[in-house]
Symmetry: none
Subunit: 224 residues, 2 copies
Amino acid sequence: MNEYILIVDDESRMRKLIKDFLVAKGYNILEAEDGEQALQIFEEKADKINLILLDVMMPKLDGWSVLRQIRQNSKVPIIMLTARGEEQDELFGFELGVDEYISKPFSPKILVARVEAILKRTQGNNEKRKNYDGIEIDKEGRTVTVDGKAIELSLREYELLVYLIENENIALSRDKILMNVWNFDYYGDSRTIDSHIKKIRHKLGKKGKYIKTMRGVGYKFEVK
Amino acid sequence: MNEYILIVDDESRMRKLIKDFLVAKGYNILEAEDGEQALQIFEEKADKINLILLDVMMPKLDGWSVLRQIRQNSKVPIIMLTARGEEQDELFGFELGVDEYISKPFSPKILVARVEAILKRTQGNNEKRKNYDGIEIDKEGRTVTVDGKAIELSLREYELLVYLIENENIALSRDKILMNVWNFDYYGDSRTIDSHIKKIRHKLGKKGKYIKTMRGVGYKFEVK
DNA sequence: ATATTTATATAATTTTTTTATAAATATTAA
DNA sequence: TTAATATTTATAAAAAAATTATATAAATAT
């Protein structure tokens, strides 16, 4: 349960409405107010985003264009938000890889139901707890235990560790880590990541060695 | 752990498959091979049955009809078994009170995981009284006692505490808490939640420590 | 009237970032 | 290859920033 949903709509009121209901259901929300911003955000956080709610009518770049662009290299589930009367486009959309349509106005209940149905379908077996040679992450509780003993991690430490672990066996550059664990625009350079890595390693004790240093690149979580 | 699960499917092979896995997990199984039988069994044993696995396509009386009948006077959790491609019915189902969908073919692992998840969710909440290391909530009476001694909580305090406790071991964000305990959205960030937490902790005395602060996130109720 | 809820201000605490230096690793020249 | 040099990361401690706890006051509801 740590899914990210990108809401793309030019009306801030609409975004807020949707967001509130999804937040209440425990989803993390990203917002874009036009197509260009949507593409930009998606490019940065593609690996985090589990579903996109995409309005059709938008200034700058409409929903269809965004859809096409994203579909060039991603299969992320997309729900299109259409105004009533745009049904004739639906068939067209399915061919481009739309997963669902919801026509405005819609009840929040329906929206939530569809989102949950799709995520259930696509996520498949998304276990809440995972165990990596004794390092166990409980996402609901946001706690980490090592060999059954809880360790205390700060927010950033927790998120950094989870990010590394979710990308097990993948070398992650510092840039990528900053993009995903910190906020989009983060200027600070210095040894911030290193400091956190150090603390995490220390708190993991013997198992800290699973966080490998990839010299010149970044870090990698690898159990072996 | 003495839960009864009713499996409704016209294919005996399918029933056997599901049954074997659930029996292995320690559940008691009842079987029905069509909708009529399902209703009959449910009528007889309604108070014993904790969950129903219900196939949609069946002779005599299909899954939807069974669902509707049962929902007239029971909230028993129901998981619908659908053939692939019946997704469009899902929304319809949710409104009728379906708790989950599993589409065939499915892996037994997924089935078991969902069954367990639902039972955990529903069983926990069903009890009118629960005791968390001396903190006891009587939902009917809307009272809380600590080590047998009643404490006085205001409306918000009570609801906040119940919300935290019902989500035991789950880290709850401030947003989520606001949405669920205050049920309106809320501008400006004041320390309202914190104030209430403080008061609850104080009233819980020593046991106030079970409300953990999740820095950067929110709060979590955790007895340990 | 009284109790409850929310707002505000400040203190206390924790987290995050920066900084400086040491250590490790890689690169280059002899 | 070895030694010198450069680059990168590890580490610790200090500084800065962010978050929460708490008390009290104000607003609101009962």
